[in-house]
Amino acid sequence: MKSSIFENSKNVFLDTVNARDYIQVDRVSTIYQSLKDSVNKPLKMILLYGKPGTGKSMFLTKLYNDLSTTKTVHLYQTPILDDIEFFKQLAQDLLDVKYQGELNFTQFMKIINEHSIDDIPIVLLDEAQLYSNSLMEKIRLLSDTRKVKFVITLHKTEKEDLIAKEHFQTRIWETIELENASAVELKIYIQKKLMKANCFDSANMFHSKSVNLIYKITNGNYRDTNKLLYTLFDIYNSYMENNPSKIDTNKVSNKIIEMAALHTGLLHA
């Protein structure tokens, strides 16, 4: 029976971007609320940035889920790298027009300016660092028309900071930075995530000491934590099936945390 608990616990930490898996941690909630407020302001662009695995995509997905009931929101999780394809997709989503032939930026601007839009649509662009500089320039010009509002996410690197400066410095009205979790936040995140999936036994196994070790290994990065905990419960599962006497189900063993870290490459032997 325990084995199935570990199996369920393992699946909780599958690395998927699903708004239902969003975990409310105090600091993150505050940031999310400020993002929501910014969207309601007459801003041209909102920049959401942070290191990989800090929850940018999750934020965007959550925002999409929350706003889609009241506003016109379009989420582009996967970047459309071709300019023509990007404007064709945009025209289809914003104007509800499907273009068969070519649609370049000039044609798209002409169409959108002719179109009267009452409710300004919000376009959420994930992984914006993958868009070319020329396309980013076009997105900037598009936001100047005030016919569309953009929320974009970027990885925080030196290169992306440059992009932010060059393209959006004057247009971006709001920048929100996402950071890794603290040790306390990480404990809340793990326990809330497990309890949300009714894995109460597994949630109780995480004491401060073991969470601190996890924090030390993952540096509070949500993606790394998910990866580590997935492997950790996989190891527990294997022990339960092969050698259950070797494990203590009352608390997470540091040895198994380190074994999981070694297996995932977060630690090196």
Binding site: D234, I235, S238, N242, E258, M259, L262, H263, H268, A269
Partner: protein
């Protein structure tokens, strides 16, 4: 399915690797502590060695003096002689010391026959003073007290032997002092320590061997010109060797450079002929 066995061995390898720096630190700390403690031990033994040497000399001297008396005098006469010897150089009071009550009192203050040790402590502030450990005295005292007790000295009252004892006492003392000086000269040749040469000079001066005291005072002065005692002893030796003018000249020179009060006093004494 995960390969738990492989993971465990991987974890063991990681754990050993992560503990290695702590292990290295621990081992290095242990080595440092061992090296430091052995170094300290060596230092301690170095400082203790001279004490042992001196104490052995003292013990030896005391024993030899006692043995000598045992060989030369009958058993009834030997005991007061031993007591007399152990009372340092106070030969003039030997008549009174034979009295049993006095013997009892003397037992408590018995010291080795090396009277020069006391002179050294009184007169010179040099290194070798520190070598003469006070704890040496009780050791020899104890031994001698035991000898005296077994001999039942309290019952012996022999006024007739006093003269003989007196003579023997002087002989024994002189011989001890000669031995001591020879031993110290040997040590001085090994170490070239000015404190030792100064000591030799003093002893020769006491023994009225003014040539030798002059030589050793000069040697001491050549090793270290700042030892005031060597200047004074040098001048005193010169005076005793009937070279008063030279002694005054030397002291004048020394006083002009050092302004020593003791040297001034000595100069006055030499000039007035009061020096002993």
């Amino acid at each position: 399915m995960l390969n738990l066995h492989q993971l465990e061995s991987q974890w063991l390898q990681y754990k050993l690797k992560s503990l290695l720096p702590y292990f290295i630190i621990f081992i290095s700390l242990c080595i440092i502590i061992i090296v430091l403690s052995s170094f300290n031990f060596k230092e301690k033994t170095k400082t203790v060695e001279p004490k042992k040497e001196l104490s052995s000399i003292n013990q030896k001297d005391v024993n030899t003096s006692i043995d000598a008396k045992n060989n030369r005098t009958p058993s009834t006469q030997t005991k007061p002689a031993i007591i007399q010897d152990l009372k340092d150089t106070q030969i003039t009071t030997s008549k009174n010391l034979i009295h049993t009550q006095k013997i009892e009192e003397d037992k408590l203050v018995i010291k080795p026959s090396l009277d020069f040790i006391r002179t050294m402590q009184d007169n010179s502030p040099h290194d070798y003073n520190s070598y003469i450990a006070p704890e040496v005295a009780p050791k020899s005292t104890k031994k001698i007290v035991q000898t005296i007790q077994t001999a039942k000295i309290e019952e012996i009252v022999l006024d007739t032997n006093v003269e003989e004892v007196k003579k023997q006492e002087i002989k024994i003392k002189r011989r001890d002092t000669q031995d001591d000086i020879q031993h110290v000269i040997k040590r001085f040749k090994e170490s070239n320590n000015p404190a030792l040469s100064l000591f030799i000079a003093k002893k020769y001066y006491e023994l009225k061997n003014y040539n030798q005291s002059y030589n050793y005072a000069l040697i001491t002065n050549q090793i270290n010109k700042d030892i005031e005692e060597s200047w004074l002893l040098f001048a005193k030796s010169l005076y005793k060797l009937d070279q008063k003018e030279k002694a005054i000249e030397i002291l004048d020179k020394y006083i002009s450079s050092s302004h020593s009060r003791r040297a001034e006093m000595l100069l006055e004494n030499i000039k007035s002929g009061k020096i002993k």
